[in-house]
Symmetry: none
Subunit: 225 residues, 2 copies
DNA sequence: GTATTATGAATGAAGG
DNA sequence: CCTTCATTCATAATAC
């Protein structure tokens, strides 16, 4: 009897933790779970009514045309004021929000930049590492001394596994029918999956880039380190 | 006694399903999350100069959880002292630096603010025509998105699970090897578990804290013109 | 139907 | 603090 009660309590805890975890994950990465409110109508004059649910805004050809034109004109300097105007204008041609416009310009600009970087290699001719995508000789944000002490600081994944492949295997077994939770005392399943097994003892120190550094400097407390 | 046994069975089922769901989500979309954490997991035999890895810190789910909690607690402006403490704590769950924590809070706050300032004007009137969550063919998250019958997610993977309420065996674990059920397979869907009274509270926590839908509603940037 | 590409969106970090 | 950039992720569109 006591055992049973305990079991119940434990399960309750586990469930809560699972839910909490789930919430964290979904709220940060699974936007498609949450913010599906934009493409509900998607007045696509081109005919098809894709009521399949649209998580992602897709510009109509007309919108795209206008956006492209604006981009070429102002060349990627969308002021907030402009954005509003543009949005108002584009709304007449389909569902759109200022966020969409903002994102569009941001992406457009970034993409252009990147393309040019790739197209115009300065003096390197050995950058043909991976042609899968624009590997781009990333000029690296030389903060201060990030690659000096411990190069492997925050790098979650050093080896360049192609994440674009959708069939990458998670490290933990699929366990479709293995065992969801081993011991009830602790969340062993998620524990093993989500918490790190003390493999990090190499936490040296980190770079101190501008903002934070200045932030720190203003403090009365000294960096007791 | 019987009630207790039943409770255990129910919890076992719930846990299984949560885990399964979570696993589906993470493995489907977040392969990187599965092997998250500083990935020394993969042997890098190359050991060469293939160090094109990412340099951007990515919080582990646990770190994220903790950070979110701290943020919600009202410590919107963590002092340096706080940051140090938090960092120390989070270091136990993955590589992290004070800068990361600082940036995270900064970003979190800024974006939270940005979203709120959108929700606020929406309170009185709905001048923004982008606001039209009525008649959405795909009912998105509202409060208990998962609790809906077939709401599922847009994820094709998830939606392909049929509702065959298979063996929801009680499998109340004994005190020793309390391992909830061995096989969940396609999981019998949420319907069964949601009808449980205990699940009520948990489902309440399930709801996504509303990040993206409000983000979509209006502009992202403020009009500092 | 499956794999690949294009691109909208999310977010960590830097700058001001 | 607020804005912007750079990078990454997920998915609609498309090629196969």
């Amino acid at each position: 009897m006591e055992v049973l009660r305990k079991q119940i309590a434990i399960y309750a805890t586990i469930c809560e933790q699972l839910v909490d975890l789930h919430k964290s994950l979904t709220s940060h990465h699974h936007h498609h779970l949450a913010g599906v409110r934009l493409g509900n109508i998607y007045n696509d004059p081109s005919g098809g009514h894709k009521f399949s649910g649209r998580q992602r805004w897709t510009p109509t050809p007309i919108q795209l045309q206008i956006l492209e034109r604006l981009f070429e004109q102002g060349n990627g300097t969308p002021t907030k004021q402009k954005i509003k105007e543009i949005t108002s204008e584009l709304t007449q041609h389909g569902q759109i929000s200022e966020t969409n416009v903002y994102n569009w310009f941001q992406n457009r600009r970034a993409r252009s930049k990147r393309k040019q970087q790739v197209s115009a290699p300065n003096n390197n001719n050995v950058e043909s590492e991976v042609e899968t995508e624009v590997e781009s000789p990333k000029p690296q944000q030389n903060s201060v001394s990030m690659a000096d002490d411990n190069t492997c600081f925050q790098t979650p994944n050093m080896c360049s596994v192609d994440q674009r492949a959708k069939n990458v295997e998670p490290v933990f077994p699929s366990e479709a029918s293995s065992k969801p939770a081993g011991n009830v005392g602790q969340m062993s399943y998620y524990g093993s999956m989500l918490s790190n097994p003390r493999m990090d003892r190499i936490i040296g120190k980190m770079e101190v880039p501008g903002s934070y550094q200045s932030y720190m400097q203003g403090d009365v407390y000294n960096m007791t380190d």
